[in-house]
Point group: C2
């Protein structure tokens, strides 16, 4: 009961929020008006130390993930301390620059701020007249969240956007091998005529780290053959994975090659921590991001018509065709139209408490 | 016997060639001195209509594939007519150009010539001072062969090389769907300290078209779940696949997304034939290639040391680790040291006959 009172104190529209939630257990899903979710999250981020601009940006990125049903959104606010500015952290600063490239030292700023700074700079370089530009960021120490956000943001300006990120050692290159890769995602955003950009976003691991943590929290089994225990055997027990095991790469040797290439292009090339040159990437806390922006009109006329034609034709090629990313578009459109976001009560409680009390621990009697 | 006589007539070093072949059946493997293989292949290409430079280049690309054990090499010369210049074909010409980009109209030149022209131009733009450059080619109507050749060629100049290619409808997006994609390969070449570049080269389909054709020719079954019959059911019968069936994409929905992105970035962006805008890509005969060259030193110092460290650390992370592409490097080093290439007799016979007689049909009595 205490949590609900806290929430009521903080949230202006709490009546609507609670009028529509589906049940009263701690795992119930609330229907929160979108703008309320955004402003409350931004206020919570300000309370834990962010300035108005950076708080709003991080709230936007998390809300965008919620909008399309991605699980890397407001869950980050469940433990708000982890979202607070790191001690001694600075702001992202451009360290190297040419007309078609740049490198950003994130100075331990969060992955989200580093990534959006790099993505926007790549786009800016293309809009300044380059057909293609590439911007890397390094020295951030948290996940950038859903990569689709950045490539969609790039594609909405008319650019093709490509994003690659590396992260610490969670993923092994073979059964029984030590973890070496992060979940090393890649994403591509493609402008198309008549509708929102097409975005494709995937981890090169067989399952996202969040998927393992989520299965562990819920006590549910993992899908088969996505992760190893400490002995290098496939296991469906998430606890075994987190206790000295590792996640597998996806798709056999091809997935391994892609994971390695992301490590090389987002890790080594950005200036982030390099396997074999540091004791551990986890300790070094320097994650890497690489963004490429491309002006399609430098290459072909009517690119947006062509991309739309390809996507329509693939979709119509069979009734079982499910184009990755397109379900997210539909979900986002539905949620945008409804104007509300479904948010687990425990997470919303945490956001509302943080928006009022910052990192002060709620009383739990 | 007739074939062996033909071969003896054409090949200067035929004695050595035949002294080392393993048996006398038509499928025996000959050990051909590398330079003899290269010059004879180039001579055969001149005989069927290529000038000295283009013949040498195409021979080099095929020999490079043989050197590392890739199956997209001299097999192309088994049916030399298919390697002859297409009626009315021209040469690749740059149609659009900026300092960091270009588009090449291949004018129906073979994929190999279009691809090498595009790859070399991307590298040239980087060596002229751009941190990143992208060059597309379209309007070629044959396969570029092994993409690793081009990205290795780019990486040997110090650039990171990325290659993407699309091709006609062989691959379906779901069971029972119409084929829409080509095998849509991608490749990445990475300079590294102390040894040859690292190259990774993969089809986004579950099996290469050559793999299906080869299984059909040998009467061998396909691996499970790589291809569909005309009814959209998985089949291991290559004949069923070629008779109205389709190849599958690799790696579940992620492989489908990657195949689609290659179609968008190498097909639509290059100006090649677009699904839904042509009756069929097979008929339109305009395949697309996209090459990106990157100067790693614009982004980070000592990139080659970093990439070598990552590759060494991944290799050492477990005894079962098999890094894709590294076996090819070892094979190439062994064959280079031995100075000979293992070539099936039927293929070598065809090359030698073509080198002497062009497309004249050999007598088969």
């Amino acid at each position: 009961m205490q949590r609900m009172i806290i929430t009521r104190l903080v949230c202006r529209h709490s009546r609507r929020s609670f009028a529509t939630h589906s049940n009263t257990s701690t795992t119930s899903i609330l229907q929160i008006p979108m703008e309320e979710a955004r402003t409350t999250t931004a206020r919570a981020l300000q309370q834990i130390g962010w300035n108005v601009k950076d708080a709003a940006l991080q709230a936007d990125i998390m809300i965008a993930a919620e909008l399309c049903g991605n699980n890397q959104g407001l869950v980050k606010m469940y433990q708000p301390k982890q979202m607070a500015p790191a001690p001694g952290a600075g702001v992202p600063v451009v360290e190297r620059e040419t007309p078609s490239s740049a490198v950003i030292n994130a100075n331990k700023a969060p992955g989200m701020l580093a990534a959006v700074t790099a993505a926007d700079l790549a786009v800016q370089k293309v809009h300044s007249g380059n057909s293609i530009a590439m911007v890397c960021a390094y020295n951030s120490c948290t996940s950038s969240g859903q990569l689709a956000y950045y490539v969609n943001r790039m594609a909405q300006t008319g650019c093709i956007g490509v994003a690659l990120c590396n992260s610490p050692e969670f993923v092994a290159a073979a059964p029984g091998a030590k973890p070496v890769f992060g979940t090393n995602p890649l994403a591509i955003g493609i402008p198309r005529a008549g509708t929102v950009p097409y975005t494709f976003d995937m981890a090169t691991s067989a399952i996202a780290l969040f998927g393992v943590l989520s299965a562990q929290a819920k006590g549910e089994p993992l899908p088969p053959q996505v992760a190893y225990d400490a002995q290098g055997q496939f296991t469906t027990d998430a606890k075994q994975v987190m206790n000295g095991g590792a996640i597998a790469t996806f798709g056999g040797h091809k997935g391994l090659g892609l994971s390695l290439c992301v490590e090389l292009l987002a890790g080594a090339l950005s200036g982030a921590a390099v396997l074999g040159q540091v004791e551990s990437k986890k300790m070094a806390q320097s994650w890497g991001h690489t963004f490429i922006a491309i002006n399609p009109h430098a290459f072909v006329d009517d690119f947006e018509e062509k991309s739309a034609s390809i996507l329509r034709t693939v979709q119509a090629s069979g009734e079982n065709v499910r184009i990755p990313g397109e379900r997210s578009v539909k979900t986002a459109q539905e949620r945008q139209a409804a104007g509300v976001l479904p948010i687990p009560q425990t997470i919303w409680d945490s956001i509302c408490h943080t928006a009022q009390h910052g990192l002060e621990t709620p009383s739990r009697e």
